[in-house]
Point group: C2
Chain length 235, copies 2
């Protein structure tokens, strides 16, 4: 997720750039201008809270994490926390959106890049998305399956995830092996391809070899012949 | 998981047959002989508790579910509950093991069935495992990612899951396309194949078409040529 794998330009801002320029807005409650974060981390207070939430939600559990524990982990008092975030749900929504928005941004630019073969663009999206889901110190994908995530507060995350899945389906439809498929068969293949990529959350294994192999596997699900794979791999 | 997709012989016993004849034993505390379950359900008290846990753990969350709520949902008093189960952890361990032990049992019998092509046996394991993970009223795979599952109490589940993954790897290694692969490349492919099947937990879609398509996708990851697939599909 963005917190770990995509350092913001300017460096250090671990959670910076989450959801920027995307429609999946989060209701950020900022009671007063942002103070500087703790000097040693270089993070803003909100970023400190997001980092604390990523750690505690995945290691202690979402329900078991109190706002007090979050504030303490982020080096501030519980009362101060509410100047920067609306509460636990706000942090969870931001973390979840951070696991899809960088891939969604890439998918949008790949959709526009019609000069390249669809298979090559699909490979790049799969590899990059696999890296996003597998990298970082905390397995944020584990939060996808929390029952709390069904609440309306997380509509932004669900919308972004649905849009990402749709982008996969469109790239898939544009590949040579899928060009002749009926809508049903195509939807099924898109579901399976998306299941493979998101299933990497459960595999909990991270390396450039692994994410490239995942992208290869995705193209095999698409039906791309083995001999065509090398030409479709991009760095 | 077994609770839903594999009715026990004799009918009605939703949770019956979990873990039987397998080494993944659970420490069942039975303080007195089992009473009959509520007449209308036909379930034993322990089975009532497992059904209640499946529902409440996946809809309210594991941490948020109290033993009192479990007992009430199962139609008994909180104090009575401890005659049948050791507590929440005991129920969670049983539910988790139920998501792997039927597939493990099938994998063992498929391993011994050397007269059939490895690809056909792999296809059958994938399809059956996909059905186990996708079927049933509650998405028990969602419980895989609970931080609590790292505790030693769940060693039996982790052992069974590791053995199942190993069975996948052995069948994969015996297929024609993987016969020449180095150990590293084979392990990578087994990881991806397992990620696809377990990733279906996140896809949350269930139908015979879907599980068969998942098994097809698994063979494509194995490297089986499209033209060879029809002959490998069983049932």
């Amino acid at each position: 997720m963005a917190l770990a794998v995509r350092p913001a330009p300017g460096g250090g801002g671990a959670a910076a750039g989450l959801c920027d320029d995307l429609s999946v807005s989060t209701s950020r409650r900022v009671g007063r201008p942002r103070a500087q974060g703790r000097p040693e981390s270089g993070l803003s207070p909100r970023e400190e809270l997001l980092a604390a939430a990523a750690e505690l939600f995945t290691t202690r559990g979402y329900t078991a994490t109190t706002t007090r524990a979050l504030a303490e982990r982020a080096g501030m008092r519980q009362a101060s926390m509410y100047h920067y975030v609306g509460g636990k749900e706000d942090l969870l929504a931001d973390l979840l959106e951070g696991t899809v928005t960088p891939s969604l941004r890439l998918a949008r630019s790949l959709a526009a890049d019609e000069g390249r073969p669809a298979g090559a663009r699909l490979w790049e999206l799969c590899r990059s998305d696999a890296e996003l889901l597998c990298s970082g110190p905390h397995n944020l994908g584990a939060l996808y399956l929390l029952p709390e995530v069904a609440a309306p507060r997380f509509a932004g995350f669900h919308r972004a995830r649905a849009e990402l899945k749709d982008a996969y389906a469109r790239l898939l439809a544009a590949t040579a092996p899928c060009a002749g498929l009926a809508a049903d068969a195509l939807a099924l293949r898109a579901d399976l391809l998306f299941a493979l990529i998101e299933g990497l959350i459960l595999a909990n294994r991270s390396s450039p070899d692994f994410t490239a192999a995942a992208a290869d596997a995705a193209l095999r699900i698409a039906g791309v012949p083995e001999a065509d794979l090398p030409a479709l791999r991009t760095s």
